[in-house]
């Protein structure tokens, strides 16, 4: 990494911050992948107001299912669970940490993931059985009034404005993203999670092949192996060379002239045309010695025995 490249990165970061510092509504498209053995989260910020995009600073997400002592600041009851190694969905937590850090960097520290709460006058928590609600309509103001656990609340939606932060997260529909979505939904924050439609399509195809009757899963495995043969084993391409040798040997050993090679048999005789077999046999009788005739007859008998098991020679009329 040269000095100039570092300067360009710094310049990019300051320009991105300048664009997004005064915005409150973001769309973040995010996905992680392993680079250099590290799980790297790449995120793209988009503003519907500016119609502009910027890459957030990539984040490395730590793997593992154990929280080390003093690794992060935790509530007491979570610390107790961490000490007993009973914390679950740690990867989803680290994913949210990474996104939160990216949001914080992009907005010069103005927002993080916990900032996307609804305004103070609005409570988006679900009502409970036995609660009640009423929509009050007047000439000056309309509002929803709810009675939650006996206490009367007025939903002051007028306090929502352009300054209220809203985040839309676009992710692939993986276990990490789903767990993060479930947690964020339970907090009733203004974070909307959306899942990528292409990932969904690919998953639909995969699930259809797994669940449809007909052994499609095995076919996928076999064809993936056969069609990747040219790069195997271990990306060396050694089997590709062997394939080429096999083809060259086949072409060198066989011939299209009927009486001279088994290619003709491959091509025509075993196509289910018995009369051609007979014609070849008669032809052989005429030109070959008795000894070679015996060999040829033996070969053709074998050919006939395998006729139905060699489908590339079968004809359309079979169906």
């Amino acid at each position: 990494m040269s000095v100039w490249q570092s300067k360009m990165l710094a310049l990019y970061k300051s320009r991105a911050e300048l664009a997004f510092r005064f915005l409150n509504h973001f769309c973040v498209v995010t996905d992680s992948s392993c680079h250099g053995c590290k799980d790297t989260l790449i995120s793209l910020f988009y503003s519907p107001v500016l119609n502009n995009c910027a890459f957030a600073t990539c984040q490395f997400m730590k793997p593992g299912k154990v929280i080390q002592p003093f690794e992060m600041d935790l509530d007491e009851h979570i610390e107790y669970l961490a000490a007993r190694r009973e914390v679950t969905r740690l990867h989803a937590y680290r994913f949210m940490q990474a996104v939160s850090h990216q949001v914080s960097q992009m907005t010069s520290g103005k927002f993080c993931l916990s900032s996307f709460k609804p305004p103070r006058g609005i409570c988006l928590k679900p009502l409970s059985p036995g609660d009640s609600f009423e929509h009050i309509t007047s000439s000056t103001d309309n509002h929803l009034q709810v009675k939650r656990g006996g206490a009367l609340e007025t939903q002051d939606t007028a306090c929502f404005d352009d300054g209220t932060p809203v985040l839309t997260l676009v992710m692939d529909q993986g276990s990490t993203g789903m767990a993060a979505m479930a947690y964020l939904q339970s907090l009733d924050v203004l974070v909307h999670c959306s899942f990528d439609k292409v990932h969904r399509c690919i998953r639909d195809l995969k699930l259809a092949s797994q669940h449809a009757s007909g052994n499609f899963g095995q076919t996928t495995l076999m064809t993936s192996f056969v069609w990747s043969l040219n790069y195997k084993p271990f990306k060396s391409g050694a089997w590709f060379e062997e394939k080429k040798c096999a083809l060259n040997s086949f072409l060198a050993s066989e011939t299209s002239v009927p009486e001279l090679g088994s290619w003709y048999n491959f091509w025509h005789v075993m196509g289910g045309c018995w009369f051609l077999c007979l014609a070849s046999l008669v032809y052989c009788c005429c030109i070959l010695s008795l000894e070679s005739l015996g060999q040829g007859f033996g070969h053709l008998q074998e050919v006939h025995a395998q006729d139905h098991s060699r489908p590339w020679f079968s004809r359309g009329c079979q169906c």
Partner: protein, 337 residues
């Protein structure tokens, strides 16, 4: 007509001499490496299938000549089991059974509508505005139920769509069995695609009409928003059996953001509701741009040998990639030299 002649596109009356001379030239994957199937790359199997399927019987013939051994139709087993004993070209030969031929064709032909749908979206729905236009199109002109790739999928089971299997049916041994497989695969795929696309009928996507210029659609979307919210509130306060379970299910789509957008509209704050809905719906259409960024990093890493890929190096690569410009997305902070 022999299958090789049919697969490699020779005329039906082609002479053996002609076929003998020409057929090695048509075996592309025996001359050049072509594509490998990569599980993580979208439609990689289908790309490989388009090249490899026409060479199926030719490959089987050459491998049978080269490897010998028993007929794969009789000896083909579970792949992992065969892999324990065999490898290389012998294993490849064992995999090339009649069942593999039939199943691969069924999967390839039945997946074509989804592949077309993917290509169309990558080509036509690139930006956030395209995404909004497409959603408005789905809400106004057609509904997701009549989306073209779903119709193409369903059509595969009709007499008109069945013609796509004509060529395959000539080569199969058990047409009824293959027809059952086709029916099973298409219905499975169609059901899953419908389930995936049904999100356009759920909040907040079904409220997109509010962002369009058509007044009737906007009014209908507004009415739907308020009725959905009141229905959810009634369920939440209900003490009836299963009402809470149903409400919890509904909250998966009618989340806090959609709930607030509906409340804003109910209280008469139309512009605020629209602004919130815009933040939810005017988004980058897919995460392909991020996948492409990861691919840029992967390709760069190959050229670096054992050199460590540091975070600044990754950052520099993605910021200077052409991923966003290829998707017609504006990249304001880009540093030009």
């Amino acid at each position: 007509m022999p299958k090789i002649i049919q697969d490699l596109g020779f005329p039906e009356d082609a002479s053996a001499e002609l076929v003998w001379q020409e057929f090695p030239l048509r075996l592309t994957t025996w001359r050049i490496k072509e594509l490998a199937v990569k599980q993580s790359r979208w439609f990689s199997w289908h790309d490989a299938a388009s090249v490899q399927l026409p060479e199926f019987w030719s490959a089987r013939m050459i491998l049978e000549w080269y490897c010998g051994g028993a007929n794969p139709d009789a000896t083909c087993q579970q792949f992992n089991k065969m892999r324990e004993d065999l490898g290389g070209l012998e294993l490849a030969f064992k995999c090339l059974s009649q069942e593999t031929f039939e199943n691969a064709h069924v999967m390839y032909i039945c997946s074509e509508p989804c592949r077309g749908w993917y290509s169309w979206h990558i080509e036509h729905v690139k930006t956030a505005q395209d995404n909004l236009r497409y959603q408005l199109h789905l809400s106004r002109s057609i509904t997701w139920q009549s989306e073209w790739h779903l119709r193409e999928l369903a059509e595969l089971l009709s007499p008109r769509g069945w013609s796509k299997f004509n060529k395959l049916m000539i080569s199969v041994l058990n047409p009824d069995g293959v027809a059952k497989k086709i029916f099973s695969f298409v219905t499975q795929l169609l059901g899953r695609r419908c389930a995936s696309l049904s999100r356009h009928s759920s909040p907040p996507y079904c409220y997109v009409g509010l962002l369009g210029s058509d007044m009737a659609s906007a009014r209908a979307a507004g009415d739907l928003m308020i009725s959905d919210l009141t229905a959810l509130l009634h369920l939440e306060v209900s003490t009836m059996d299963q009402a809470q379970n149903l409400a919890a299910d509904l909250r998966l789509t009618l989340d806090a953001c959609s709930r607030l957008a509906s409340m804003l509209l109910w209280d008469g704050h139309h512009e605020k509701s629209k602004a919130l809905l815009k933040a939810l719906l005017v988004t980058i259409p897919d995460s392909k741009c991020i996948e492409d960024c990861h691919q840029v990093v992967r390709v760069a890493r190959k050229n670096r040998g054992n050199e460590k890929m540091t975070l600044p190096a990754v950052q520099y690569l993605i910021e200077n990639s052409k991923v966003l410009s290829q998707r017609d997305l504006q990249h304001g902070p880009e540093v030009t030299r």
